[in-house]
């Protein structure tokens, strides 16, 4: 699913203890979210404890990878560190009901708008990691 990579110098993820599972799954080509082992609730950003049932049991759930654009921007000046081409940064609402910041790759900014359906893919970072990014569905 990785297109020609316009941004081979994209920064590597900076992983917290609780967030590392997300990035490690992405390296394996899987798109996941934190799921509470107690009550099953999905959480993003990840956290140590489920605020609903206070369980410490953390699991991961596979996501469909389908979502819609809630908001999008293109940082132009100063250029984003590690990006040779300005990225489209988007807030994506996933069909499982959680929101996530990512990129929409391969889209023309002139036709970008709120509400567009998107589907997950993966992009390589400078250090060889893979990150979940999105393409127009």
């Amino acid at each position: 699913m990785t297109d020609s990579n316009l941004n081979p110098n994209r920064p590597d993820p900076i992983m917290s203890v609780e967030g590392a599972f997300f990035w490690k799954a992405a390296d394996e080509g899987r798109f996941v979210v934190q799921k509470c082992g107690g009550c099953g609730m999905l959480h993003h950003p990840p956290r140590a404890i489920c605020p609903e049932c206070l369980s410490f049991k953390r699991e991961e759930a596979e996501l469909s990878g389908r979502g819609t654009v809630v908001s999008w921007v293109m940082p132009v000046q100063p250029p984003a560190f590690g990006f040779d081409v300005p990225p489209i940064v988007a807030l994506i609402e996933l069909e499982e009901g959680i929101r996530m910041v990512s990129n929409v790759e391969g889209a023309d900014p002139k036709t970008m708008k709120v509400g567009l359906p998107v589907k997950v893919g993966f992009a390589k970072t400078r250090g060889g990691h893979a990150l979940p990014v999105f393409h127009l569905a």
Partner: protein
Amino acid sequence: MTKGNQQAAIVGIGQTEFSRNSGRSEQQLCAEAVLAALADAGLKPADIDGIMTYTLDHSDEVDLMRNIGVKEIRYTMRIPQGGAGSISSLVHAKHAVESGFCDCIVLWRSMNERSQYRFGQPNLQLQMSPNGHSSTFIEWCLPFGAQTPATWEALSAGPYVNKYGVTSEDLGRVSVLMRKNAATNPNAWFYGKPITLEEHQASRWIVAPTLRLLDCCQESDGAVAIVITRMDRAKDLKQTPARLAAAEYAFLHNHEIISDFYQGDLARLPMSERVTERLVQACGIAPRDCQVAMIYDNFTTQVLRQIEAFGFCGAGEAKDFIREGHMDLDGRNALSPNGGLIGEAYIHGMNNITEGVRQLRGAADNQVRNVENVFMCSGVAGAIITK
């Protein structure tokens, strides 16, 4: 609610010049601003028994005491959440003096934020935990190129801008007003330099399609300090005290400071709405009852969103409220007569507090007529000062 002689009041304000290269240490700027605020109040360093700044401030409490001869303190505190926390410093100071725990508190913010480091630039050498500073942008935004406050703000403002059809010209009118006010404020970096809407529209994109260069506040060097005591002591001091009728702060579950994307309706600012309710409960005065509104203006989008959330007008109406002149100097609620962080300087919100006090004293360069109450806010916190 504390009233009468036990109520907190701002009795001194001080500042350095605002520049892009102070040529002095942040520690020196801090000491200069604190001495200026004490002199304004008619107090001496030995009168201080509490000191407070931001967690992000690089100057130091011990060095301040050494520099200006503070003899003994019994309270020190640092406020989190950057500029969003600027007004929350007043919440702490109010309760510290009204409880009797302290008699005289000094707040300050000192920064060489243009000449030594720039908030507007991506910084991947941040010496902070991925979970730190009330936001998760280090882990969950930086690898996707969302690396600056302008990018996070534009992303979070998207649903608001989209829902209400806010145009770049609508945002530009906020900037034009701030620069108009700054143009007649001799302390402002943009003194004598108003802009037109056409100049706003011609300014380059910082974050397309929302924020142009002239939608963003400045990066500045400088320091500001404020002295707070109780009314029983204030009556013997040099200035007419600015009573802190109410100062409130609210933070809500699953929200963040600037990368605040993950909870609720993004077209609203629920924390600001909560603060508004609390202010009215605390003092019976609403922000819209105030003749002057000092609204934290890191970006023009934040100004419009806060105007609505703090109840100056209805949802989606802020762009028209500005266009119809209700926040001009002679309007119903004059917006930041100093020119705010866009026009005067970016001292992380603290220079909007000093202007609020000057307006209440009747001593501002762009003095609004018949000021009885001044409202000041920074997203998660708000305060109302009265005569």
